[in-house]
C-alpha cells in the first residue's frame, strides 16, 4: 500500500497539443479511491500517465510510497494500470495475459499458475483462461485487464477510463463491481474518468481538473455541494448549477434547490424569484422546468428548476410562478476570479 504525491508536476506539450498539466500538487491517502475528473483535454490522463511513468514530466516531482520515482521506468515503479482499451495482448490467452506481469518478474512457474488462478477466481473468469482476447465480450475483457493488474499485488492501481468501452447497461453494474472490488483489495487507486456519475459514485475523493490545473479536491459531496469555482459548479450536475450575475457577483444555486415558494418551510430564509416557465421535460422520476426570471436582481436571465415527478403542482407555460431558493443554498462567486466568495446581500 502506498500513497502518491505530486509536487509542482507540470507537463507542457508542443503548440496545438492538448492535455498539458500545470503545477499539480496532489496527495492520495492510504487505500483510497481517488478519481481524476475533467472534460477531455483537461490533462487528467496525462497526469495518470506521468504517475505510471509513461510520460516524462517537464518539471515537478512524483513520489510513490515515499520514494521519488521521476527517474524510474514504469516497471521499476511496481504499479498496475488498466488502459481504456484494456490493451490485452492479442496473441496470448487469458492465462498468458494474466501471467505476463509475473513472468516479467521472473516468478517460478508453479507460483505463477497459482497466483493467476487466484486472480482469475477473484474476478470470476476462471473458465475463460484458455481463450484469446478476441473471443471475449467487452465485460470479460475488462475483467481480464483487472486480473492482469491485481495479480502482481501492486502498491498502486491506475485506471484510465476502464468503463468507457462498455455499453450503458453493463457500465452501471461494472461500476458497482469495481467499487466493491477495490474496497475488498484495499489498494490505493487512481481512477481517471470524464463521467461525473462514475466519479461521484466511486470516488472517496474527487479531483476536478480543467485545462491542466486542479480546480478542486474533495469528497463527492464537497465538490458537488461546495464548488470552489464556477467551473466546478458548472461541470458537475445535470442540468448544471444555475449561475446568475448580479451586483458584481455571480450567484449559483442547483436546479434541485429551486422550488415553488409554497414547497419551502415558512420559517426558512429564502430568496424569492418570479419565474416564467417556458417548457418542461418529463424524465420519469423527475421533471426539468426551463424558464426565465423576471424582475428583481436577475431580470431576464435563464434558469432551470428540477423537481420530483411526485410533486403535484403543474406549471403552465408562459405563466409567471412564484419560486424561491433557500438562502443557505446560494453560492457566491467572485465575478473576476470566478472563485467562491463570502455570501452577501442581494439588492
Amino acid at each position: 500500500m502506498a500513497v502518491v504525491q505530486t509536487r509542482g508536476l507540470t507537463k507542457l506539450f508542443a503548440k496545438g497539443q492538448v492535455g498539458a498539466v500545470v503545477d499539480v500538487d496532489l496527495e492520495s491517502r492510504e487505500g483510497e479511491f481517488l478519481v481524476l475528473l475533467g472534460p477531455s483535454g483537461s490533462g487528467k490522463t496525462t497526469l495518470l500517465r506521468m504517475i505510471a511513468g509513461l510520460e516524462e514530466p517537464t518539471s515537478g516531482e512524483i513520489w510513490i510510497g515515499g520514494v521519488l520515482v521521476n527517474d524510474l521506468t514504469p516497471r521499476q515503479r511496481r504499479i498496475a494500470m488498466v488502459f481504456q482499451s484494456y490493451a490485452l495482448y492479442p496473441h496470448l490467452t487469458v492465462l498468458g495475459n494474466i501471467e505476463f506481469p509475473l513472468k516479467a518478474r521472473r516468478m517460478p512457474k508453479e507460483e505463477r499458475r497459482r497466483k493467476a488462478q487466484w486472480a482469475a477466481d477473484l474476478l470470476g473468469i476462471g473458465r475463460l483462461l484458455g481463450r484469446k482476447p478476441r473471443e471475449l465480450s467487452g465485460g470479460e475483457r475488462q475483467r481480464v485487464a483487472l486480473a492482469r493488474a491485481i495479480v502482481r499485488e501492486p502498491s498502486l492501481f491506475l485506471l484510465d477510463e476502464p468503463l468507457s468501452n462498455l455499453d450503458a447497461k453493463l457500465r452501471a453494474s461494472a461500476r458497482e463491481e469495481l467499487e466493491q472490488f477495490q474496497k475488498k483489495i484495499g489498494t490505493t487507486t487512481i481512477y481517471v474518468t470524464h463521467d461525473q456519475v462514475e466519479a461521484m459514485a466511486m470516488g472517496d475523493r474527487v479531483v476536478v481538473m480543467n485545462q491542466g490545473a486542479v480546480r478542486q479536491i474533495g469528497t463527492p459531496a464537497d465538490v458537488y455541494d461546495e464548488p470552489q469555482d464556477t467551473f466546478v459548479a458548472a461541470f458537475l450536475g445535470s442540468p448544471p448549477m444555475n449561475l446568475l450575475e448580479a451586483a458584481g457577483v455571480i450567484v449559483g444555486f442547483r436546479p434541485e434547490h429551486f422550488h415553488p415558494s409554497a414547497a419551502l418551510p415558512a420559517d426558512e430564509p429564502v430568496l424569492k424569484l418570479a419565474f416564467r416557465a417556458k417548457h418542461e421535460e418529463y424524465l420519469g422520476a423527475e421533471r426539468i422546468l426551463y424558464g426565465v426570471l423576471e424582475g428583481g436582481p436577475f431580470d431576464g436571465e435563464k434558469a432551470v428548476a428540477r423537481m420530483s415527478s411526485t410533486l403535484a403542482a403543474r406549471f403552465a407555460p408562459d405563466v409567471v410562478h412564484d419560486f424561491a431558493v433557500a438562502k443557505k443554498d446560494l453560492k457566491f462567486f467572485d465575478r473576476e476570479k470566478e472563485t467562491r466568495t463570502e455570501p452577501r446581500a442581494l439588492a
Binding site: 527517474d71 524510474l72 521506468t73 521499476q76
Partner: protein, 282 residues
C-alpha cells in the same frame, strides 16, 4: 537513478548507428552514380586518385555523350509512351472490375479478387517462353507494342486489388442515396464513385507507370532492336559497346532514369503498402 539516462543514451547511439549504416549502404550506389556521372574520364580511370571526390574539375562530357550519341532520349520516350498506354489500358479494365468485385458480386467478388491477385504472383520468368510465342503470333515481336500488350497482365491484377480495397472503404449508403435520387447503378459509379476515388485512381496510375519503368525481363525477351527498347533494358544492355562500358554516361543514365520515379513512388508509398498488407494488419 542514472539508469534512465544511461539507457536513453544507449538507445540513441543504437538508433543513429543503425540509421547511418543502413542509409550509407542503401544509398551509396546512387551517390556513386552521381559522382561518376560528372567525373572526367582521366579522373575516373586513375587508380591513384581518391575515387570519392573530384580530383579534376567536374565535366558535363558524359551527359553530352549520353544525350547526343546514344539512344537514351529515345528510350526515355519509348518508356513514357509505353507507360501512358499501359496506364490507359489498366484504368479502363481495372477500375470497373474492382468496383464490380467490391460491390456487385457478393461472396464471389472476394474470391475472384483473390484469384486475380494471385496471378500477380505468377512471375515473368515462368511465362516469358510461351508469351514470346504469343507475341510472335500477334506479329508484335521486336516492337514496343509487344510490351504494351503484355504489361497490363501484371498491372491489372495489382491495380484491381488496390482499387477493391479503396472502393470497399466508401460507404455503400452514398450510392444507395444516389440511386434513390434517380441515378442508375452504373451512373452512380461514373458520377459519384469515380470522382470520390480519384486519389486511389491516381495511386494506381503512379504504380502502373513505375511498374512499367521497372520491368526488365519481358522487354529483354520481346524486343531485340536497341531503338525499340525501354530505358530499363536499354541502359544496362545497349549502352555497353561490345565489352566496353562507358561508365560516366552509363551512371548518368542510371541516375536520370531512377530519381524521378523514386520521388513519385515515395509520395504514394503508404497506399502501395496497404495493397500488400490488406487483412494482415489488425
Amino acid at each position: 537513478m542514472a539508469g534512465v539516462r544511461a539507457r536513453q543514451l544507449a538507445f540513441r547511439t543504437f538508433h543513429w548507428t543503425v540509421l547511418a549504416v543502413f542509409s550509407v549502404l542503401l544509398a551509396f550506389p546512387f551517390y556513386w552514380m552521381l559522382i561518376t556521372s560528372f567525373k572526367r574520364t582521366g579522373d575516373l580511370y586513375d587508380l591513384r586518385n581518391n575515387p570519392f571526390v573530384f580530383n579534376q574539375k567536374p565535366t558535363l562530357e558524359h551527359l553530352r555523350l549520353l544525350v547526343n550519341e546514344t539512344l537514351f532520349l529515345r528510350w526515355l520516350g519509348n518508356t513514357a509512351f509505353a507507360g501512358l498506354v499501359v496506364v490507359a489500358i489498366t484504368l479502363l479494365l481495372a477500375v470497373p472490375a474492382a468496383y464490380a468485385l467490391a460491390r456487385l458480386t457478393g461472396r464471389w467478388g472476394g474470391r475472384i479478387g483473390i484469384a486475380i491477385f494471385l496471378t500477380y504472383l505468377v512471375p515473368p520468368t515462368l511465362l516469358f517462353i510461351p508469351l514470346s510465342r504469343i507475341v510472335a503470333w500477334l506479329n508484335l515481336q521486336d516492337t514496343l507494342w509487344a510490351v504494351i500488350v503484355v504489361y497490363p497482365s501484371f498491372t491489372i491484377p495489382f491495380s484491381t486489388w488496390l482499387l477493391m480495397g479503396f472502393f470497399k472503404s466508401i460507404p455503400p449508403e452514398l450510392e444507395d442515396a444516389a440511386m434513390v435520387d434517380g441515378l442508375t447503378r452504373f451512373q452512380a459509379f461514373l458520377k459519384l464513385v469515380i470522382p470520390i476515388s480519384l486519389s486511389g485512381i491516381l495511386t494506381v496510375v503512379i504504380f502502373t507507370f513505375t511498374l512499367v519503368t521497372q520491368e526488365f525481363v519481358y522487354a529483354l525477351t520481346f524486343i531485340s532492336s536497341a531503338s525499340h527498347q525501354t530505358v530499363g533494358v536499354g541502359v544496362p544492355i545497349y549502352l555497353v559497346r561490345g565489352d566496353v562500358y562507358y561508365w560516366g554516361s552509363l551512371m548518368a543514365a542510371c541516375l536520370i532514369a531512377s530519381l524521378p520515379i523514386a520521388v513519385l513512388y515515395n509520395l504514394f508509398l503508404d497506399r502501395f503498402i496497404a495493397g500488400f498488407t490488406v487483412g494482415s494488419v489488425k
